[in-house]
């Protein structure tokens, strides 16, 4: 045999690689772990110096995150009815009473609507466009593909002011629709390029077989191509969602009330009733969950998606 052969890595090499990965994981996960830990600390523990690693966990941060409170004078405490639940008990212990829910829930819901809405729209439009680019003789195909890619060649925030003015005159400022359209516009180039790569890998014969079998072009696309492209669609969806979910700059600029997403809202929590770090950490922790769940659910597709094309042909 000529050429090279693949040898099994030695135990030492495996140990070395394992250590590197473990260190990397530790470095990346430590800040996250600290945020999660902080969300369960009391305000005093959260700013203690030296920092406390062992502490008495409390859900005070979460209660504060979801409520608005007001301080009550000590002499009026006795005239109040007894606390109705554990949350009120916690607030009462701080010498305050709950006056209503906070806006976090609504902001979180905005993030869900805008994040998943724009992801769905990006994937929907991206899949159709990618299929057309992959299968049909589109005039100026290469130029169009380059044009689509070129929208990513500068940071989106560079066009923030024109977009701000456009949104204002179109009445899209601080609306769900406006944010969905904006994130879709940013994500669609990524979606078209990624999905075109995946669809290119699907042999045309499958669709042709379906056409011959008496199905229309759209049925062939829907029943044969889409199931084959599921891997690519899933991994593209993850990338789109992560961008839309985490986006901060446009959200700060273009939303203030109705359509404000969680990222610009979370920092504002800190100003309510002193430096409430546990409430901020609780907001960040809850905000992580949907993306983590979504990614874990589609993880198998994501891994296959990244190596897709490298192994076939």
């Amino acid at each position: 045999m000529s050429g090279y052969s693949i040898t099994e890595p030695s135990a030492g090499q495996k140990w070395f690689a394992g250590t590197l990965v473990a260190i990397y994981a530790l470095v990346t996960l430590l800040p996250l772990a600290w945020i999660v830990a902080t969300s369960f600390k009391s305000p005093a523990d959260s700013i203690a110096y030296p920092p406390k690693v062992i502490f008495d966990p409390t859900v005070e941060g979460y209660v504060n995150l979801f409520t608005t409170r007001t301080r009550i004078p000590a002499d009026q405490v006795d005239s109040l009815p007894p606390p109705a639940n554990f949350a009120e008990q916690i607030v009462r212990d701080q010498g305050m009473m709950i006056t209503g829910p906070s806006r976090y829930g609504a902001r979180f819901l905005n993030s869900v609507i805008i994040g998943f809405g724009s992801t769905f729209l990006s994937i929907f439009l991206g899949t159709l466009a990618a299929y057309a680019f992959s299968r049909f003789r589109v005039p100026l195909k290469d130029d169009l593909m380059f044009f689509i890619l070129s929208t990513r060649m500068m940071p989106p925030i560079a066009v923030a002011i024109p977009i701000f003015l456009m949104f204002r005159s179109l009445g899209l400022s601080d609306t769900h629709l406006g944010m969905i359209l904006l994130y879709t516009a940013v994500n669609i180039s990524l979606a078209v390029w990624l999905l075109k790569g995946f669809i290119d890998e699907i042999p045309r014969e499958y669709e042709e077989a379906a056409l011959i079998d008496g199905y229309t072009r759209f049925q062939a696309f829907y029943k044969v191509v889409l199931p084959q492209a599921a891997t690519g669609i899933a991994s593209t969806a993850i990338f789109c969602l992560i961008f839309a979910w985490n986006e901060y700059a446009f959200a700060v600029l273009l939303t203030s009330g109705v359509a404000q997403t969680a990222p610009p809202f979370i920092p504002t929590i800190i100003g309510v009733g002193g430096q409430d770090w546990p409430a901020v950490a609780a907001g960040a922790t809850l905000f992580l969950i949907p993306v983590v769940v979504f990614t874990v659910l589609l993880r198998k597709h994501l891994l296959r998606g990244i190596t897709f094309g490298a192994v076939r042909k």
Partner: protein, 374 residues
């Protein structure tokens, strides 16, 4: 089942002409081969019959009805792809029943027809398996099943044996032919393998550079090639060409190769002075010491019952197929005699065969002198 008539079919991709003004007819129930080297337009022709490509111009008559611009789903034709193209996300049963479900065939009938097809093809035991783990032979059968189950007007097959290994190909070729004979289905089959075409086909179309070079029964194409391309493409080793320059009169029944007299069937039309090629199949070249036309033996190749002898002659290198018992030495000079009846004459400029009156030979009995080695 149906008759397919191809009339002036033309397909251009931009400046590139894939199929040029082609004409041929596939009769009802025929096993019809589209043969040619890669890039000759045979697959494009097949895809146009299927409706996967629309022709630039020309007609495709399916049972007398022009379907050239009808989409694939409206033609009721089955197609077997080279790479099978089984739907990877479905099991065998769903793959086979897929075309029936598009037609809205009732569930019970679908089940019964799929079972029947599975029995014909001997794949009942794998009917509920996913297609991913199947051997290539089983995939091939499933692909055939998907075609058969519809009872379509015609079957189109694009090198269906191309993806199989050599050992299995032969068996599958026999199975295919047997299946065809049992169902009597009009079949158009694309291949680049001339042996496969000769072995399986009722009729063959030979294509080259988008042009139909010849169309007819395998025997006719082998014996009387219409062009030098066909003569070279069909047969292994291919037909020999002996090049010479002459001007021939109508009625001429002899040519001179380097001064040696070689009889041939009577020429029907006179020719201008030019370059010509005398075509002779290797099995029709006989070594004979008393012949005037001579060649030098450069190599011999032993093939069991026969041997191939390579010879250098003043008019070009040729090969002869003779019984392996006959002793031939490399370096020996031998006389060469040809089976007159089977000679072809080509215009070497255009590559076209010249019409020869073979009936004239039968009358004089001139052909009887030469024994043909098969």
């Amino acid at each position: 089942m149906a008759e397919i008539v191809i009339r002036n079919l033309h397909k251009a991709f931009g400046d590139f002409v894939a199929v040029k003004e082609s004409n041929f007819t596939v009769h009802d129930g025929e096993f019809f081969m589209l043969l040619g080297p890669s890039g000759c337009g045979k697959t494009t022709t097949l895809r146009m019959i299927a409706g996967l490509e629309l022709p630039t111009s020309g007609q495709i008559l399916l049972d007398g009805q022009d379907v050239a611009q009808v989409p694939a789903s409206g033609r009721d034709i089955a197609f077997v792809f080279q790479m099978f193209a089984l739907y990877p996300h479905m099991n065998v049963r769903n793959n086979i029943s897929y075309p029936l479900r598009s037609q809205g065939v009732p569930r019970a009938e679908v089940r019964q027809r799929v079972d029947e097809v599975a029995r014909i093809l001997g794949i009942e035991d794998i009917i509920d398996r996913p297609v991913g783990g199947l051997s290539s032979g089983d995939r091939q059968r499933v692909a055939l099943g998907r075609a058969i189950v519809r009872r379509p007007k015609a079957f189109l097959m694009d090198e269906p044996l191309g993806a199989l290994d050599a050992e299995f190909r032969e068996r599958m070729a026999e199975e295919l032919r047997a299946l065809h004979d049992r169902m009597g289905a009009t079949t158009v089959y694309v291949t680049h393998d001339q042996l496969e075409a000769m072995q399986m086909g009722d009729k063959i179309v030979v294509m080259n550079h988008g042009v139909v070079e010849q169309w007819g029964k395998p025997q006719d194409i082998y014996d009387f090639p219409a062009t030098m391309f066909v003569a070279e493409f069909i047969g292994s080793p291919p037909m020999n060409f002996l090049h010479f320059e002459a001007s021939l009169e109508a009625g001429a029944s002899v040519v001179f190769l380097s001064g040696a007299r070689v009889p041939l069937p009577r020429l029907e039309m006179p020719t201008a002075r030019g370059r010509y090629a005398l075509g002779v199949r290797p099995e029709h070249v006989r070594l004979s010491d008393d012949a005037a036309f001579r060649g030098l033996v450069t190599a011999t190749e032993y093939l069991g019952t026969t041997q191939i002898v390579s010879l250098a002659t003043p008019n070009g290198d040729i090969k002869s197929r003779i019984p392996s018992g006959q002793r031939v030495q490399v370096g020996e000079r031998v006389g060469l005699r040809f089976n007159t009846q089977t000679l072809s004459l080509f215009d070497a400029e255009t590559g076209q065969a010249l019409a020869l009156d073979r009936a004239s030979l039968a009358a004089t009995g001139d052909s009887g002198k030469v024994r043909i080695h098969g």
